[in-house]
Amino acid sequence: MELKVNGKNQSLDVPAHTPLLQALRESLQLTGTKYGCGEGACGACMVLVDGTPTPSCITPVSNVRNREVITIEGISVNGKLHAVQKAFLAEEALQCGYCTPGMIISAVALLNKNPEPTESQIKEAMQRNVCRCCVYPYIVKAIQTASKMK
């Protein structure tokens, strides 16, 4: 299976139906993408597929052949944090941090599409992502902060 992940071509020896989440975590050791529910209902496993936030736990690896996959590890470039990552730190938009990679992926996708989203657009775009620690208001704030940084 030929994949392009975080700009690198990868060749994986896994069955076509393997969830992308497992391929990333087990075959490529990209463990920043998390398992949360296995049904695409919590957002912990979000990755970008051709720029679209996609729950990797319900996406067979064969679906992303010849497509550009970006994981949380590919969001910062050469150790330089992305504006969204900086904003999450600045606004302390996390507690346990388990949802954070998926949150950042969804936020990056949103800002790429809509650089100045309103509060309600942010909430709508982020609705699939769960933060069980419930610091949602800080996450909204972080996305607004990142929007201004750009």
Partner: protein, 713 residues
């Protein structure tokens, strides 16, 4: 030690601790930690991962004898000036890795970023009962503070001695001791050289008062925050070891189901698959998760079912099976007599459904048998408790069991047990290789313990001037925490009655305090309404504690309690004192008469937990509590029938999400004259009754049930 954690504050609803036979926790001990391998060797062995062996050269064995009080148990300064702090408390997102580092930096006078926290490692850190009950800030922080201040004093004395000057001529600052006369300075690293670590902690050492804090009391950002926003942080579920296998377990299809027959031939025939059967415990291992899942799917199991109570009958069931006590008590008779004589009587009951913690990182463990040492990494709030569970399970001594706890994807009181650790260790032992086990979301929603369901019956009365007369309060099964009323009354009879829970149950953030507060604050509200009194004034009149009255007033003022309401809206409030913290919450709800829907518009919380250690992280805890509390107030509940959990997924168990967020305001009352209390629990307690009272205000409908907005429960 004065600040030692009390041993006697376990509540009945901490079922998971009793279930594991650990209700009576040994008062022990850091002494064992040093003596387990005998004297200085113990220290060398124990610290070998992080400390240089030169430490040993200067060990004073006389001091070692009292090692439970030694600085070395808590702190070490390396030659390069880096500081290592050891604590058995663990990080689950409450940010104590940061707040405890602040406490040490403050007293030691060093840079907070020069500190590395070793947390929850049974080989390296002093024994700790667990990270629950809001005890880190009131008990662990003072302990580390004293150790750090003792070490600073020791450095001051050492430097003064070196310079042959009086100790009052030296001053600790920024990781060094400065000679204020000569201007010379010497770093802690130089002074320590890794020696003299076993100096005793001075219990009487003077600590800085909160008004002099520079590092503590400020909003230091999460110290390892960057690891989380980059995905670099390794949770238990992310770990791997060479040759590691993935495990999956065969779970019963329902509570009370028993395995009567297993055909594992198809699974065993799969390449790289092993099936492990130890009594009724059945698991599979394989080199990758997909294969393990396929093997699990290939098992053919036959089950025998037993009759189990269902959700629809849970409250009758709990009451029917409750232990009855106190019926003949004088307090019961007094409350009854007073009730009958009172002018205004009110009697109602409240139903509390089971809920799940649903931490986003499910239970996970990685187990490795290395010779006769069992290494386990697991996300738990009680690494030493897990060590004890493993000791009993495998009948090996604790000294051979190392449990480590990486910063974990939250717990909320749900990760007190070692289930995943035991399961992974069984599989690893049987497979002869390291095994990682990560529970699925369905397992997490089914086999982890729940917050108990409960029935609460309240009977109380007031006189014509609006003073409480009698107060009778019975809690069936949900728990005894926060059951005591803060309101003055002439006769009080309050009892918790244990019962027979059909589902596994245990601790949840703030234990039963949210349930008891829901019933109490609803009852108080309704008394005020019955008397046509303002619920705020009624409370202020019947309360005594000035700090509780203060947060009530602050919340009400911030909220605009007296402000005029928009059409179809209602206001509600509630307050609570628990675990050293004072909380008040006001809620505004909007009622849509057409579709009969209720929406929470605004929440205001005021919280006083004494001195504030880290304002931003405190606000974050209050925020998280209030919004998480929104879930069980409005829509979270576990549905079950005939022993089967019917909604074990995020698509069927609704939890708060972005679009559910009301407008929220938080006021933190900083009391620098009061000791800092924990803050991760108490702010969750008032959301439900505040909303319930606001719904009553808007609709005249009393919803005496949690969750409130699920129809047909």
């Amino acid at each position: 030690m004065k600040d030692q954690e009390p041993n006697d504050i376990l509540y009945p609803e901490q079922y998971e601790l009793y279930e594991n036979g650990q209700s009576l926790i040994k008062p022990h001990t850091r002494r064992r930690f040093f003596t387990l391998l005998g004297g200085g060797v113990a220290a060398a062995f124990t610290f070998s991962d992080v400390l240089s062996r030169e430490v040993l050269s200067s060990l004073d064995l006389q001091e070692l004898r009292e090692a439970e009080d030694s600085i070395a148990a808590w702190l070490h300064v390396h030659e390069d000036g880096k500081v290592t702090v050891y604590t058995g408390k663990v990080e689950v997102g409450q940010n104590i890795r940061t707040s405890l580092a602040q406490a040490v930096a403050e007293e030691l006078e060093c840079d907070v970023h020069s500190i590395e926290m070793i947390m929850g490692d049974t080989f390296l850190t002093p024994y700790d009962r667990g990270t629950f009950g809001s005890r880190t800030t009131p008990y662990m922080a003072p302990q580390l503070r004293k150790a750090a201040a003792s070490l600073r004093v020791y450095f001051e004395q050492s430097a003064a001695k070196q310079w042959k000057t009086d100790v009052k001529n030296v001053k600790a600052q920024k990781g060094s001791i400065l000679n204020t006369r000569s201007g010379r300075s010497v770093s802690y690293g130089r002074l320590s050289e890794g020696r003299k670590l076993l100096h005793p902690v001075n219990e009487e050492v003077s600590l800085k008062s909160a008004s002099d804090w520079k590092v503590a009391g400020s909003s230091i950002p999460k110290i390892n925050g960057e690891d989380f926003v980059t995905g670099r942080h390794i949770y238990t579920s992310d770990m791997t070891l060479p040759d590691m296998l993935h495990g999956k377990l065969l779970r019963p299809p329902a509570y009370g189901a028993r395995l009567v027959n297993l055909d594992a031939r198809r699974a065993e025939a799969m390449s790289g698959v092993q099936v492990h059967r130890i009594g009724d415990f059945v698991g599979v291992t394989a080199a990758d998760i997909s294969t393990a899942e396929s093997a699990l799917f290939a098992l053919r199991a036959e089950w025998e079912f037993t009759q189990q109570p269902s959700r629809s009958e849970i409250f009758q069931h709990l009451k029917k099976h409750a232990s009855v006590s106190g019926e003949e008590d004088a307090s019961k008779k007094a409350a009854e007599t007073m009730f009958q004589q009172s002018a205004n009587k009110l009697e109602q009951s409240f139903e509390i459904h089971y809920i799940a913690h649903a931490p986003l990182e499910p239970r996970a463990a990685l187990a490795q048998w290395d010779g006769d040492i069992l290494n386990v990494w697991t996300g738990t709030q009680r690494p030493f408790g897990v060590q004890e569970e493993l000791e009993r399970e495998f009948n090996i001594s604790k000294e051979k069991i190392r449990v480590r706890m990486p910063d974990t994807g939250s717990g909320y009181g749900g990760k007190h047990t070692g289930d995943a650790a035991i399961e992974a260790a069984r599989l690893a032992k049987s497979a002869g290789k390291p095994v990682k086990l990560v529970w699925t979301r369905e397992e997490e929603f089914t086999w982890a313990y729940f917050r108990p369901a409960g029935l609460i019956e309240v009977r109380s009365s007031t006189d014509t001037t609006g003073h409480l007369q009698s107060w009778e309060f019975h809690n069936y099964n949900s728990g005894g925490a926060g059951i005591r009323s803060m309101y003055r009354s002439k006769a009080d009879h309050t009892r918790f009655h244990s019962s027979n829970s059909p589902l596994r149950q245990g601790s949840y953030r703030a234990l039963a305090t949210p349930a008891n507060t829901f019933a109490r604050e609803s009852q108080i509200n309704d008394h005020a309404i019955l008397l046509k009194e303002d619920p705020l004034s009624f409370r202020l009149k019947n309360l005594e504690d000035p700090r509780l009255k203060h947060v009530l007033q602050v919340a009400a003022d911030t909220f605009g309690w007296k402000s005029s309401k928009k059409e179809n809206t209602g206001y509600g409030l509630a307050c609570c004192f628990d675990k050293g913290g004072y909380m008040a919450t006001c809620a505004e709800v909007q009622y849509n008469a057409e579709n009969k829907e209720v929406k929470v518009i605004k929440l205001v919380g005021a919280f006083d937990c004494g001195t504030i250690v880290n304002p931003k992280h405190l606000e974050s805890q209050i925020m998280g509590c209030m919004l998480q509390g929104l879930g069980f107030s409005l829509y979270e509940y576990i549905d079950f029938r005939d022993g089967k959990i019917l909604n074990p997924s995020f698509s069927h168990y609704k939890i708060p999400r972005f679009q559910d967020m009301p407008d929220i305001k938080i006021v933190m009352v900083d009391r620098k004259d009061e000791p800092a209390a924990g803050a991760g629990e108490t702010p969750i307690t008032c959301v439900a009754p505040a909303i319930r009272n606001a719904i009553f205000d808007a609709t005249k409908e009393k919803i005496n049930r949690l969750p409130m907005l699920v129809k047909g429960l």
